[in-house]
Symmetry: D2
Subunit: 398 residues, 4 copies
């Protein structure tokens, strides 16, 4: 075993960390107190800086303008970007565009790629992914009501979706809908279809108020209705009935991205915790950092973050070697481990900050609120624990 | 021991519960998605209904227009009101007015009572309490920078306060400031002074953005600056130098109020959890409530809520019998126990609701965000654990 | 509500506590380092002292030589006795004799009572209860293999039992066996039958080595085999087929006994923890009790014990008022709450004692080992959580 | 990063695992129910088998008859050996002999090595380490009362030690005693001295009863008194006053050994848990493994074990690269993380086994009892958390 980070990675990570610290973290007060769309011009500037520095879209193959890092290397970048809520967006690594671009690379026709992938890769447009339905549990993806029915050369889509992240302002939506209701396998009934958001019948009902904020633009989650929404059959992405399979494939690497982002958040939270603890006076003789409780939270956070990172890097290494499907159990493991670690660390950081931790004067409150979803989306803890247990138990049932 | 609830209390609690369920809970969607001040007219209507029903201000002595319930009986009312974020406000039981009225009853001069207590009791005005300072830890109340210096017949107040709950729209502030910096005891240096909010030098800087919301009116927490703010010395509340003692006295019963309110929240959260679990389908053969994990969360929540309630009722019974000071340890105990129980139950309720739990379509998200402060204000967990441990250990050090 | 302990109870509890402290705790080193049977003579002396003081068998009706305390009062006694592993035995309150006597009082024929109940009540003999079977889960009592088949005037019993507590030295066993395999309800197939332990075919295979100790006499758990063990049908206890119902009835009050005993253990553990913490020096300037971690454990233990006690006393009060069946959910609640509280408190006490906590120089190690079973016997945590959840959810399914 | 296990290691681990499974695990029932010393003959046979297979003392340099594995490779072996309580002993990897041999290799004179190291390496004798004192906290090693005073050519040792593991049957003890009470640094006052156990004045008072067992021979922890125990000054090990430094050096790799052993235990416990869960029937329709609670425990255990292993392997890799001193924080981290993980996993395995888990029919009870010490010896959790926090905070105090 060799736990060293590749030598070529360190200077790049240093540059990215420096950019995050000096260019993005200073924007956080605006991010935390203004609407996201008001920040679009300044963020566009920052994106140009990133492109000029050659650090654009590190996970994206060079042919599309990215840095072409393998997953296990990009993981480190994702952690550094995760230190601020603005990091991934400015480096064009934000969900769901990353996943949509990956799917377009793997399954898009040349026309689809030219039309959608190229401008996404350049950061000129944004996209969304319409899968979750309010009336069906996200934990069981085969329960889906949305349909896409062939009519002439078109699909006519009807359905009710929500938690379509970043739909506000998106130019295109990838929609999961049942195209083959009679397929033998419940996993072969849905397809993924590209829908321009200006298509008649596509309606963004609202940006859902989530943890106190409806948000806007990229920083939002929409409820979307498809009412006889008609697109040409050429908008089908990949084979018909392959919707679930494609969704699964995007989730593997996507969970690495998320988990490393969460680790970046946790590192920043611990950073804020420690910095505050050493400067906050409790009495004439004691600083907050002299409290044993605070020290224990630091030690436990340090240990939990380090353990989580090793698990994620190991999973990324496995995906790079054997593929996301064979690394399914490792991926489920990190999903629940890292999400819970993150919640713990954020909770401790808020407690140490006291009243200040409740305010939006630090990013802790933002993460505390919005990253509560980490234990829910992309499969709740409960589903991932079941996946792991099922795999472990299988060996004993033979 | 007799654990039965007094017979006269049950029908009153039923009436209050019915009012909460039919008149206030239907207002929650507006509360969760609009500014509080937009709800003032409808809430004024509801307040009039409460007065007409004879249920106004249950904790307040009858001479001031309340129901005059002893603490151990009001506790049950506070639980029922806690089921909705609107309950305490509509029944004129909201912090910090309750505490301010209590202090005015105990320490106010006849003139102060006529001027402030009566309209507060009638719900015509609101007040705030300016104690916490951004640069000093709330956990150590003797660390305070605000000063009130005598000048002629006046006090001239200078200081920087924050988390002055409900200052927005308040007619009067009770301010803690150092009046006797040379007092022997650090606990005898501060006084409480009444400051009309239209006094020159009183400045509400901002409603602090807390967990994503600056809020408004009663539902807000302000940063307030006092700059050479001059009030007559007759505005002193109680004896000079008695500020800490008065603050302590208000906190004992206040913690019972809060803890029972939290229990009401927890009951409502468990209620929402169960109602959702039995109607949410996971698959063709299973409802969410069939999951053993969900069942365990229900059982654990049921047990934790019941245990917490007994602890609080026991503490209230002790305060009624021996006073808040002698029940200090019981009060510290419930403070950290109930606050942590609440966080657990809310977390489980959100997890069961999945994506819906993240939205503001239920009150869970509101409580998850704002009641995170339960472990911080009125003394963080850490201070209360220390109080309990110190008391326990004292017996072994003799 | 009235949380005060009845006035007549306090002086009695003081006398019992004094006896425990001065007569029984000094015997603990012998108990912890010798075989139980070696202590029988000295314990017999102590039992005579208890009888002479009029404190014998507090839970037993006066007609049988006890003090006749109602459950809610005996609960307090059980806590005091629980402070030492010897308490219940010396006061003739030990399981399983208590339960067996209760069943004999309720269901025994006059002949059965004369033969068995009277000498048990006087402490002249001991008994055991043979229910659990190694091949069947204790959590599902209707799964049972032991049979009692009528043959002439006899029952012929065959079966394999274990965890028959205190079978070593018992004069009589109450055995659960299937007598009515064809009964409609699975809950009406078993009966309880009295078996003198000198009956041919009754064989004590071994005292099971439990947590490192096979133990002896009262302090043991046996594996017992019944091989064509023949007893007269007049040994049937209560109606045929009523075995489960009788078992359920004994468990309700029995769980109050156990839970209060556990609370007594937890109090003693916290007592040892604090006493050690104030006298153990960590450095020239600090005692162990100065550690914030230790203080937190004390505060959390204090809170958890107090909450647990209130829950148990409330359940006992309910049983006294409405019966064990109607208080089923409260009983399940305390079972898992108190057992887990106990494990926590013991774990902290051991951690504070360091290496000493690992030794048998204190009773902590004994309880840590043997009371681990608290979360398993009489229904594991998991079953009791399910009972509570099922009851809570029932209201939402209507 | 490269997480693959070196190719040459796999077949060796397979051979060791096979030996453990087929030769040692079958001896567990005897180990769990008999005195250790009764097993000495059969264990001597197994040791010869191991020597014949060329697997003897894998951590020991080849020149002393071992396999000479680097720490990061031996770590994997230690995990496999940890699967049974007999593993390390049979492969001559047992504490405290490993540490004593390491110290002798590093600091022993040629005479000392010839006299003690060689027979220890061949497994012909055993040794012990006398450091912990009953009256001083193990968490603060500079508090020590034992003295070694020069008198002529000798040291005269007086002191009271306990938890001298495996002193029963040991030929030699390495003793920590104050030789330089006036040294400036408190860390330079003690020395390590070799004391043959047949030296007059060396007295093994008792094998301490630990968690219900005094044990014997290698499986014991002794209280030892030194009363004017006289040894030649040539028995000094390393420089005078270097006792603490030497002790620290042995602890670094020693903690890797322990932690990987604990991981082996945890793997075995999870193995037993799963094997039992799939074969234990709960009802006509459900196995124990169908319980979601059991599945969650499996998933959480799987995740926690895997995370712990990566942390330990990373720490071992760091020690191999930068030395134990520079990896101090990583070592403290794994100490408390792995010890707590182990306790969790064992607790779950016992709960799943129910009554069987309480018995000594499986090794779970043995580990539950004796490995409770993992959170105490070699520094309790609290000390290691403080070490980590101090290191983290140092960066913020600059």
């Amino acid at each position: 075993m060799d736990f060293s980070i590749p030598a070529h990675l360190e200077p790049m990570l240093d540059r990215i960390r420096h950019f995050v610290d000096t260019e993005l973290i200073p924007l956080e007060p605006r991010f935390l107190n203004e609407e996201f769309r008001h920040l679009l011009p300044i963020l566009a500037d920052k994106r140009r800086q990133v492109q000029a520095m050659g650090l654009w879209a590190p996970w994206l193959p060079a042919e599309y303008g990215g840095m072409g890092l393998p997953l296990a290397e990009y993981a480190h970048v994702s952690e550094v970007l995760g230190r601020t809520p603005l990091g991934h967006y400015v480096f064009n690594c934000q969900a769901p565009d990353v996943g949509n671009m990956e799917v377009l690379m793997m399954y898009g026709s040349p026309e689809q790629q030219a039309h959608w992938l190229d401008p996404l890769a350049r950061g000129e447009i944004r996209s969304c992914f319409c899968m979750t339905e309010p009336e069906n549990p996200g934990s069981n993806p085969v329960l889906m009501d949305a349909t896409a029915v062939k009519d002439g050369d078109d699909y006519v889509i009807n359905g009710h979706k929500w938690f379509s992240t970043a739909a506000d302002g998106a130019a295109m939506a990838i929609v999961m809908a049942i195209t083959n209701p009679e397929a033998d396998s419940r996993h072969k009934r849905a397809s993924q279809i590209l829908v321009p958001t200006d298509t008649p019948g596509y309606r963004l009902v609202r940006n859902i108020s989530v943890m106190g904020e409806a948000g806007s633009d990229h920083a939002s989650h929409a409820e979307v209705v498809f009412e006889n929404c008609r697109v040409p059959q050429s908008n089908l992405l990949g084979p018909e009935g392959a919707g679930f399979q494609i969704a699964q494939e995007r989730l593997g690497p996507g969970r690495i991205h998320h988990c490393m982002r969460w680790i970046g958040i946790a590192e920043r939270a611990l950073d804020l915790l420690c910095a505050y603890a050493v400067r906050r006076r409790l009495s004439s003789s004691a600083m907050l950092s002299d409290q044993q409780a605070v020290q224990f939270w630091i030690a436990e956070s340090r240990a939990e973050i380090d353990a989580a990172r090793l698990l994620v890097l190991h999973a990324a290494w496995r995906i790079d070697r054997v593929g996301a499907s064979a690394a399914r159990v490792e991926i489920s493991t990190i999903k629940f481990v890292v999400a819970n670690m993150l919640q713990q660390v954020l909770d401790r950081a808020i407690q140490v900050h006291g009243a200040l931790g409740m305010t939006d004067d630090t990013p802790l409150s933002y993460w505390y609120r919005h990253e509560r979803a980490a234990r829910i989306y992309d499969g709740p803890d409960e589903v991932h624990k079941w996946v792991v247990a099922r795999s472990v138990l299988a060996k004993y049932r033979q």
